[in-house]
Structure formats: structure tokens, C-alpha cells
Symmetry: C2
Subunit: 345 residues, 2 copies
């Protein structure tokens, strides 16, 4: 074979399609894909162009992984836990109920074995995953009535999806699956009693405060929900090495952008929501503890049936223990003091 000129090998003109699992209205979740694609284009003088599509433009948001697997698109920007129906192991690469916070999830992925576990697992589906964003710690959602005891969860029709729904079932609640646009009317009519979405900035747009004013925290099932770029393995392997490097670097840039944008926007949103009638409530301690126990029980049950899940959740639980032993020292010491001083004015 005759080698092509080096320049042609390393910087070919290339067009990819990226399907996002998010609508454009979620400008931070969807926006990360745009930031990523622009970074790739800028780094390659527009030779490598990745066109981004919102959920539904090519495939529905929850079919993004399938579209990558079967090569309909080269890549997706999505949340692994949307595919919990294929295998519960998918849930753990986004967030784990009572698991890792935003920074811990990133360090577990990069240095704690997470990326290896993820890509060993995703190989079965013919894609690899590169971290690309995090919603930061989510809120617990909007409730029509206050939750004062564990018993108040009994029969509660709660819009919550995925693995966390199983845990709420164990607590007596009735998890509901509803698309974003259907939540408000269901809360208004009382067809459901509560709904979780993301955090202040995204929640504000859907106007839940008017129909379910009790805004609970923390969203213990998503202490930090990591997004990923899923990339078809055949397409990835065919990329020139420098384009692979650019995809990784651009993913990091979009990752930082998303986290910083949420950290910048949520403080203003929570102020507006509180001024607009949101009643902020921490989940009562007994509710948190019962939820923690239900979570650990659910992990044990799934682990008994699924070796992949067990391997990943065991890694997370060990990492969580070491990480929080350190976190309680400097990070929590600093944050807790700063919060106290702010409260004093």
C-alpha cells in the first residue's frame, strides 16, 4: 500500500452527527453538545464538523444509545441511566443514589476505575463513553403536600424515572414515568402528587412552583449526574489519532462549561423561585435514613442478580467511603463555615 500524504491522514474533512437526549429548551444540557461540537470545529479549522441534533430530530431522546450502537449516528450526548431498561448497570455511570458527588464521580471515572468499568461494559453495546458534563447535585423535586414522615411516601404518585424509581417503590411510593411536557398538567390536576426534574435553573422553566410549591432537597438519587458522549466504536477506531485527542479535549471543555454554567445559574434561579413562592424543605432525617436503607437493600438485590452491576456498585461504594472520609475534613469544613457566616449576614 502507498501511504497517503501525512496531512491527509491526520486532518481529513469529516462530518459527524450527534444526537442529544435533550431538547434545546434545556439550554445547559443541550448546550454542552453545541459547545463540544464548536470546540472540535474550532480545533480543526472546521475540517471535523459535528452537527448536533436535539432529542426527536433524528431519534427520540431515550433512543440515543441505540442510534449510536447501530450506527444511525456517530455519537450521542446523553445520560447513561436512561438505558436502565437494557441493564441496571447503565444507571451507575450517571449517578448512584446516595453515591458520589459531582467531583467524586469525575475522579472515580478518571482515576478510580470508573472509566475502565464503563468502557468494558459499554463495549457490549459497541460504543465508548467520554465524560461530558454534570448537572451537579439535583433537587428532590416538587411536592403538592409536605413530606413529614416516611409514611407520607406511602402511595405517593411521584414522577421519577429509572433505578431511583425502584427505590421509591420499596418506600411505598408509586413511581410514574412522564415526559417533561406532561408533568405540569399532571401535577395541576393531581394525577400525580410530586415530580422531580433537575435543579432550580431547569425546573424554573416548567413552572412547577405554581402547582406543587414544596421544593425538597437534596436529590439524594443524583448527588451529581454525569453526562457522557457515547461514540460508536467503529467510528471512533476509524478516527485519526489527533481527532480522537481533540474529541477528548473538547469533551473536557464542554464538561467544565456545563458544570460552571449550572453553578452560575442555579443561585439566581433558587432566589427567583423562593421569591415566587417555592417552599424550600429538606427531606426529614428519618425519610433520608429510610431512603438510604432502601437504597442499600436495592443495591444488594440487584447485585445478587447481575454481576456487572455488582462489580460497578462495589467499586462505587468503596470509593464513596474513602472520598467522604476526606471530604468531611477540608471541603465540608470550609463549605459549612462559609454557609454559617453567610446566614449571619
Amino acid at each position: 500500500a502507498v501511504a497517503a500524504p501525512a496531512i491527509a491522514q491526520s486532518s481529513p474533512d469529516l462530518k459527524w452527527r450527534l444526537t442529544s437526549s435533550f431538547p434545546k429548551s434545556l439550554d445547559t444540557l443541550y448546550g454542552a453538545a453545541e459547545v463540544f461540537a464548536k470546540a472540535v470545529a474550532d480545533a480543526t479549522d472546521n475540517k471535523f464538523q459535528i452537527q448536533t441534533f436535539a432529542a426527536g430530530e433524528i431519534v427520540p431522546g431515550l433512543q440515543a444509545a441505540d442510534a449510536v450502537q447501530n450506527g444511525t449516528v456517530e455519537m450521542a450526548h446523553t445520560a447513561s441511566y436512561y438505558y436502565v431498561g437494557k441493564d441496571p448497570t447503565f444507571s451507575l455511570f450517571t449517578a448512584q443514589p446516595f453515591g458520589l458527588n459531582t467531583r467524586m464521580q469525575a475522579s472515580w471515572m478518571a482515576f478510580g476505575g470508573g472509566e475502565q468499568l464503563a468502557n468494558d461494559f459499554f463495549k457490549k453495546y459497541n460504543f465508548l463513553a467520554i465524560p461530558c458534563g454534570n448537572t451537579t447535585c439535583q433537587m428532590g423535586g416538587w411536592f403538592r403536600k409536605e413530606i413529614k414522615t416516611v409514611e407520607d411516601l406511602n402511595g405517593l404518585k411521584f414522577r421519577i424515572a429509572g433505578y431511583a424509581g425502584n427505590i421509591f417503590s420499596k418506600l411505598g411510593a408509586v413511581p410514574q414515568q412522564l415526559a417533561g411536557g406532561d408533568i405540569y398538567p399532571a401535577l395541576e390536576k393531581g394525577t400525580i402528587d410530586a415530580a422531580e426534574w433537575v435543579g432550580p435553573y431547569d425546573d424554573e422553566k416548567l413552572g412547577f412552583v405554581k402547582v406543587a410549591p414544596f421544593y425538597y432537597y437534596p436529590g439524594w438519587w443524583e448527588g451529581g449526574a454525569m453526562l457522557h458522549n457515547f461514540i460508536n466504536l467503529d467510528k471512533w477506531n476509524a478516527l485519526p489519532k489527533n481527532y480522537q485527542a481533540i474529541v477528548r479535549a473538547a469533551s473536557a471543555q464542554a464538561n467544565d462549561w456545563m458544570i460552571a454554567k449550572y453553578d452560575n445559574a442555579n443561585p439566581q434561579a433558587i432566589k427567583r423561585l423562593a421569591a415566587g413562592g417555592a417552599q424550600l424543605r429538606p427531606f426529614p432525617q428519618p425519610v433520608m435514613e429510610a431512603s438510604y436503607k432502601a437504597t442499600m437493600d436495592t443495591y444488594a438485590e440487584t447485585s445478587g442478580k447481575n454481576a456487572d452491576f455488582k462489580k460497578v456498585v462495589d467499586s462505587v461504594i468503596a470509593y464513596r467511603g474513602d472520598s467522604y472520609q476526606w471530604w468531611q475534613v477540608a471541603e465540608l469544613g470550609f463549605d459549612a463555615f462559609m454557609v454559617r457566616m453567610r446566614q449571619r449576614g
Copy 2:
């Protein structure tokens, strides 16, 4: 003028030198420069090569900014607060005593006006700054004797540099400037009473536990110490746009790498230090409060004399208030609960 072929314009062979302010032994601080340089080389098929030099190889670590300003090197990986002697405003782009935590510093830089303020200021010195790493919340340092009251700070010879040294002076301590290698013998002989360095992973290497076993937290003067790439403005402006984009993306990749590496390494290091005799101590609440007051007084004094400092610190203080108002809800609620559950085993 005849246009050069597009390919030559956008992907020229280029060699730059980067001076780090850190020795290779600080493998996370120094390592970020290596990760950055490798990402740039990988993204450009080795056409854009940035050779990294440890502190002292070209210029001493604390002269990195000067070397960038006068064009001795194209860029540096450094901490802005090392140059507080030129202008106290430099200190604020790394960390602010009782200021922003790691994530807040990133969001303030990206979306809260920090980057604009930084680069308006750095323009006077002929460089621009791109965030590239963070040490995460630092420890308060190693003390030969326990600190039980504010009075115990009186006359304390404390190895601490920069703006935080001014604050400790106000509290009655006597700040000492010592290079890393000189700290251990000074502590051993009792020439100094205490020393701060970074956090568990970096501190462990210097062996302070043997001579000053009381390990205090949090390092309230560095709730998150951001590192930057400083780049000579003439060199930056001469870069092809795609190389500028690659430098930005590679900086983000090294940023994530450093934070994740510290978050992964510190938990193991603090366990080893505790097993090796470190006595972990929180600064007593009255010491924290006196330090907070001394900090705010010092900010006011400097602001009275320096309009640049005032503009930046006012931005930080406003951002801090809003950020912690939100942080206390979901993030702190989640972290505090997780710490409690871990303590119970």
C-alpha cells in the same frame, strides 16, 4: 500579499516552551503542565510541541510570570497569587481567603465575570490567563503545638506566603517565607512553629508529621486554589485560531485531570497520615471567626488603596454570597448527610 496555502496557515510546525512554577516532585501540580502539553501535541499530530520545564530549569518558580511577560518563554503554568508582590490583585485569581470553593471559582471565572476581570488586569503585564487546574480545598497546615484560642496565634512563626500572610499578621502571627525544602528542618529545630503547604497528598512527601503532628483544617485562605496557563499576548495573538482553540481545550482537559487526581489521591494520603501519627484538628470556631473578621478588614484596607483589587474582590464577595446561598441547599445537604452515614459505618 499572496495567501499561503490554507493548510500551512492552520497547522504550522511550532515549538513553545512552558515554564512551570512547580518542581517535578509535586507530580500533580507539575503534572498538569505535562498533561496539557501532551494534549496539544496529540491534537496537532505533534506539529505544535510545548516543552515543559520545571521550576528552576529556565527561571525560578516565582519568576514564571516575568518570563512570560518579557517573552523568555511563550507560556507558564503557575499560580497568580505568587505575584502578589507586584500587585495584591494577583492573589484573587487563584484563591481568596474565605472566598470561593473550587467549583465556585471555576464558575465565577467562566460566567461570573472573573475571566474578564482577570484578563483586563493581566493585559497590563502582556499575558492572558486560562484556568488550568485547582488544588481543591487545602489544609490549614502542620503545627508543633495545638491552637486552642485566638491568643495562641500570637507570635506564632507560621510559614505562609502571600496575601494570607498579611491576614495572619493582623491576627498576631509572624508570617515566614520559606521554600519547600527548607520547611522541614525549620520545623524540626523550632525556628518556625507551623507551616502550611498544600493538602494531604503533597504534604505527605515532605514528612511534616514527624516534627509538627497537629494537622489543622480547613485551609480557609485557599478554599480552592486555581492554577492558570499564562500566555504571552504577542505569542497568543500570533497563533492560528485552531491552535488557540486547542490550547483552550487542552487547558480544560488538564484542569479536569488535576482536580480528579487530587480528589483521588487525597483520601488515601489522609488515611496514611492519620495512621502515621497526624493529629487532625479543626481550627476552633473562635479562631475561624477571628480569622474571618481579620480577612474582611484586610480586604477593606487593600480596597481603599487599590482600585483593581476593589473591583475584583467586590465581584468575588457578591458571587460568594449568592453561591453559598444555593450551595447550602442541595450540595451541602447531600455531602453532610453522606458524611454522617459514613461516620456511623
